[in-house]
Symmetry: D2
Subunit: 295 residues, 4 copies
């Protein structure tokens, strides 16, 4: 197992549906991937929250996973979210992604029942034992219902060999401080909370996992570049410039807002699956205005 | 559509698995249903949280649903949980349950993404429009991630014709007060939080949705009888007598503790599906002690 | 030390101010006390939250304390709230109340800084050591900022001899269950959360600490009587009848709503001290309507 | 009214007590002030949380206020916390501080009762109307029990002329983003949460309100200097270097830890007032170790 160096702007893909919502629109998915890569993102992440991974059948999930990996074709690393409600299903997805060339798999301990720390650790261990691909541990209590403490995260990181990265999305910047401190600077962490983009980089995050580059890649990349250039003033200005859009897509829901934004730019990707609504007209108008300001 | 009168002790069934966890053990499921009915529960509810509904494949879900309905065979009403992550999947399950004879279907707005009130209403409306069976709306933010306000619940109740019952599991007794007050006594509500069994009946709940009758049916029924007999002192004494067990099964997780308890009484139902652990030895010993005290 | 048997409806007094707010209106205070006792409350509690104890100078606090005790004159037991921000000040108040005849003193661990469990225990111990009067421990995180766990409460109860009663105001009925269970039925607990009046009695509370009898004493007492008579149905009906008023006074703030209500009945007690506003006109109208319905 | 330019490191003073805790040790207070100024802090803030302002009698408060202002003697600006539980008392303190030369007064809406937005606004307006000195609005729900929304803060800022600065201590960095965005860069905000020192400066805070310079002034100042020099990498390294100490003083309580730290450096300032404990021996040892590492 060689761990790829994942850093910078990690672009999350949407999953385009046909007009009636029943089928995956693979050509549109290909275009959205190309657009992200052409615009300079440092990695591609299919089937995350933005990709409505939770709303796909197993067959659809496989289809999107296989297609995405083939289409990225190693131009940049690909990080496939393989979370599922049971350990057996998550293992199946992890193996599938590995077999089709995933550079990293991402695992959120999604579960209906609140899991104990031992259950979470065993879940990661079972997935880790079943593949040779690096795992990005993902903490996002807002969607998973499970908040992993920094101690638990470090325990998993130190116990499961191929857990080599941490994506933190609690929205509490102090979690990153603790990962940095208690991990003695040896735990690569990535930010998954858009409105914390500036602070996460200030705190030492290696990358920013975000769907925003579907809409404003240049600003996302410029923020990262300013950080690399050690230019805090420029980073701050770039952050505040894009913050209204970052807040908008968070508040409006990533699948709805990103799909609406892509539609505005000519890339038709269908609507989100119900019960998630497409962005309402007022929201589309607001999004249009926000994007216009950022041109 | 005739709405059945659902009241009293509504027993939730586990989903028994084979020893290796891969298959459903239908004979064991039948035995657990018979045991609940023989012990006097007023309704049977398969495929809820206790039934690990979220951890089943669609084929397994259909199998359990069909078998349970056939096996109950109208001895008591059956309430089938048909929650699923997308509206389309929940509709499919609701129709399936209806076609196989469900008296009521229960719907939790389970979703990966936080849903707006409009999205939740539309979800219920879509399910309601697709069947002629009464719907029990289920509010349980701890498992669904979505907390429906009393105002939203009443809006759905008043808007969607076949939403005729509300199961409340927030653990906040004041929600039931508000359902009673703002619903002007016309909204039948049911308690889904075991440690609130006494207070929910005091507040006017029509029934108690619980997995406890798998283990201590006589005490559950006696509490309800004391309430019907307007004997608060007896109800209080019965409540405190069973409270340690109610707290234990809540804290230990319903599938793990109920399956362990059934095993102690000779009804082998397998283990929960990973990532959920079976009850550890220390827990089994503690459960054994609790049950012995209640004999 | 003889512990008085405190039970039933414990009426909290307001602290009347002169029209310009600068002085205590003792005659009005006397009238409000007489009214509570004449209407049948089982105990009187001056200088609590309702009594704006936190907003008085030390001299004013002494004046109200001394006057109230003299005026009640042992017709019923008197429970004086002696909470203060430092241990030395709380000790001084406790001694003052004791010297002037208090039957019980009530102590909330009010503090600017979050206190450790050891600090809270020491605070109670210091007060307990300085007097021979029973202490009612008071848990109300919403006003004190400190939430005492049931374990801490029981530790204080078992460690400090004259802590012999617990007033619970978290609004979480399960705290009372735990006090009952872990205290093995030996810890007298009192409800301080008006909307939980019914459930607290169902759970075994010895009494209800409330400012409501300033306005609707008959209903408060009838609820308690129904509980004593083991008549759950009557208790439930009485509870729902008074619940809108209980919620109104909680939501509107006790000093503002109780003073407004007393004014409506002809007992002028001035306004609350700023920054607390008197009840606005719309609120007064609403209160008037609620009271009219309950006549 | 001339608004002083408040920026950089704003040092909070402790209030030294005599050995038996009954009197203020003014010479020690003078030494602690001199030490802060000699070490380069940009402003001095007496009687804040660190200064145990809430635990002083009115006479003591006046004594500390007057002495501190006279002793600082305009070497740097002085910001006096004048918060009190009633509006009348806060007005009195504000006038007192102004009369004795305060450059700024700081106001936390400390209150026993939860205040409405209108009540909070009126509180600030009453204080503002009574003085000609600039006011630093202070939001710290952990100690005041009142969390002011950004909208309310901006409303007060725009309505009350002499509210010209905002100190934010919720610990949520996104509050600062909103102050910056919705205030269109015109609302000077200051960080009051030690572990957010780096992120607050990254987000554009004008200063850092902290008791830490009593112990590690050089590191606090160096962090600010790195930010001024636009050197994010240096700022990050300086931040992580001092973070363990910042977390320690926050967790251990500022009066206890800062007084213990001053004692370690030879400046005896007595103990905090009960119920707050002095730092226990184990804590002193840990603090000694932390300080030694930072030398």
């Amino acid at each position: 197992m060689t761990t790829p160096v994942i850093h910078g702007i990690i672009g999350y893909t949407i999953t385009p549906f046909s007009a009636d919502g029943s089928a995956i629109d693979l050509p549109a998915l290909g275009r959205s991937i190309d657009q992200l890569i052409d615009n300079g993102v440092h990695a591609i992440a299919p089937l995350g929250s933005t990709g409505e991974g939770a709303y796909l059948s197993d067959a659809e999930w496989d289809q999107v996973s296989e297609f995405s990996l083939a289409h990225v074709a190693k131009r940049v690393p690909t990080i496939v979210s393989v979370s599922d409600l049971t350990t057996a299903k998550a293992v199946r997805r992890a193996r599938f992604a590995e077999q089709h060339g995933a550079d990293v798999v991402m695992v959120l301990p999604a579960s209906y029942w609140k899991l104990s720390e031992a259950e979470i650790l065993a879940h990661y261990r079972a997935i880790g034992d079943s593949i040779n691909t690096p795992i990005m541990l993902y903490n996002n209590p807002a969607t998973s219902g499970t908040d992993m403490s920094v101690d638990l995260i470090l325990n998993i990181f130190n116990t499961v060999d191929n857990v080599t990265m941490v994506k933190e999305s609690t929205g509490d910047i102090q979690r990153m401080h603790r990962l940095q401190q208690r991990g003695e600077g040896q735990v690569p962490f990535y930010n998954g909370c858009n409105p914390l983009a500036l602070e996460a980089f200030a705190a030492g995050a290696k990358g920013w996992c975000t769907a925003a580059p579907n809409l404003i890649p240049a600003l996302n990349l410029a923020l990262y570049d300013a950080v690399l250039a050690n230019d805090l003033n420029a980073a701050r200005a770039l952050f505040y410039r894009q913050l209204p859009l970052l807040e908008f897509i968070l508040k409006g829901g990533l699948p709805a807002t990103i799909k609406a934004g892509l539609r505005l730019t000519g890339l038709e990707a269908g609507d989100p699956r119900l019960p998630v609504f497409p962005l309402a007209d007022a929201g589309v108008t607001q999004l249009h205005g926000l994007l216009a300001q950022l041109k």
